[in-house]
Amino acid sequence: MLQLIKKDFLIHKNIIIIMFATISIYMFTGISLLFIGILFASTMAMHIFSSDEKNTARILLSSLPLTRKEIVSSKYISAFLYVLLISIILVINSLIIQKGFPSFTNISLIIICSLLIISCIYPFSYKFSSKYLMFAGIILCALYFLTMSVFIHDINDQIRIMVGLFMKFMEVRFLLSAAIIVLIFYVISWFLSIKIYEKKAL
């Protein structure tokens, strides 16, 4: 399984370099660190997923002396390591560009939110295909706009207020609880993906 994790870094080594440079550009523009972190972590998680999503890659991996449980597990571990790698890149970039450490809360939230997103999209992608994620996103957007126009007209303002309050009262104890909940969710998602992939016809 370690070999599969190594593969996820070997195949994407050029992307990692490009990602480092692109994050620097984003940080120069002063865009929220939280936004940059979640954007890059989710993108990388999907990128490493899609590289093994082609049927030929699946046939190759499943023909090697590996179980499907190991194939799925390696992907979850790689995605976790990528989230940590992006957080480290953000810290390094902050030190270089902004001459200081980013806030602990921001980095923690990046990790928590990214893991939560991966927990949702990986089982979906194993079950259907990552190409349907965009459609799922479009449907969710439609539901969001429907909610805004029919039920809660000021939903954007309410979310903004809620996030503001959330950030204001953020404590280490709260972050720790959120991290534990998300980790449990990540592990459940991991097992769910194993079950889905074990039944999949290649």
Binding site: I59, S63, L64, A201
Partner: protein
């Protein structure tokens, strides 16, 4: 005699196709050719043997073991070559080898280097720049470098030039000389099998038509040519199928002795190739489909 692959009453149903109650055994130390027309279900059966698909019913045992409890152990001793190029195209062959080699406990680096030199493969060029023949050679180099007991190949000779096809068949021949390795490979280029196969498994429309020694097939099947007045309704039943023209008939029979006792010197007899057997079997099923 050891059995390496054993399929017992395996059925797998898809929307518009079915692998129907397939049973056969592959013996250790021999080359077995897996033949059938395009769409007969050869790749599906190979996927079932590789555990890429699970059967709806029936049992598959490799080296006497079940995939449910011994998946890694089984695959450790299988080498595979697929028709489709399955490697990561943005990697070099060297990088691909670095990913795959540590997964096999019996990986032999010297043997890999030997095949890389023999096949004239560039190690540092990206696989996406390789021709189909080079990709097949790369698959073969990796497949043969971990001392597998069983080599499974799906249409390995498709896309190879005639010179390398001969070399490839010679390599397969060398591999089974010690009678420890078993080769099972599908092809629709049946002339390849006539050079090296010991046994033939013939699949048609998801069903096994026969599993037999190549020599026995050669002894039993025959192409018969004669004038139309030799035929009547009962005699026509002796043929797998017939092709009639105004000048006469040509048909395939699977009991050479019996058909020769019926026609004697009045008909002409020729050896039936695997291609003839595939052709007439397909013709028979097409005829029945038309009648249905």
């Amino acid at each position: 005699m050891d059995t390496v692959i054993e399929l017992s009453n395996v059925t797998k149903t898809f929307k518009d196709f079915k692998i129907n109650n397939v049973s056969f055994q592959i013996k250790k130390g021999f080359v077995t050719g897996f033949v059938g027309a395009n769409g007969a279900g050869k790749s599906t059966v190979i996927k079932l043997i590789m555990n890429l698909l699970q059967p709806d019913s029936g049992e598959i045992r490799i080296f006497g073991l079940d995939y449910k409890t011994h998946e890694k152990e089984i695959k450790e001793h299988i080498a595979f070559v697929y028709d489709d190029h399955v490697f990561y195209e943005n990697l070099t062959l060297n990088n691909m080898k670095k990913i795959i080699a540590p997964l096999y406990t019996n990986w032999d680096e010297e043997l890999f280097k030997h095949y890389v030199i023999k096949f004239q493969l560039p190690l540092t060029k990206k696989l996406k720049t390789f021709s189909k023949g080079m990709l097949m050679k790369s698959s073969l180099a990796i497949a043969l470098s971990h001392h597998a007991k069983l080599i499974i190949m799906d249409e390995p000779t498709a896309g190879l030039d005639p010179i390398f096809r001969r070399e490839f068949l010679a390599i397969l021949h060398e591999l089974v000389e010690d009678e420890e390795k078993t080769i099972f490979f599908s092809t629709h280029i049946t002339s390849d099998l006539e050079h090296i196969a010991d046994y033939i498994v013939f699949l048609h429309d998801g069903k096994i038509q026969f599993v037999d020694e190549l020599l026995t097939i050669d002894e039993n099947f025959t192409l018969v040519k004669g004038s139309l007045d030799l035929l009547d309704r009962d005699i026509e039943k002796e043929f797998i199928s017939l092709h009639k023209t105004e000048l006469g008939f040509e048909g395939l029979a699977k009991d050479k002795k019996h058909i020769m006792s019926l026609f004697g010197n009045l008909a002409m007899y020729e050896s039936a190739s695997l291609e003839d057997i595939m052709f007439y079997t397909k013709k028979r099923s097409d005829t029945f489909a038309t009648i249905d």
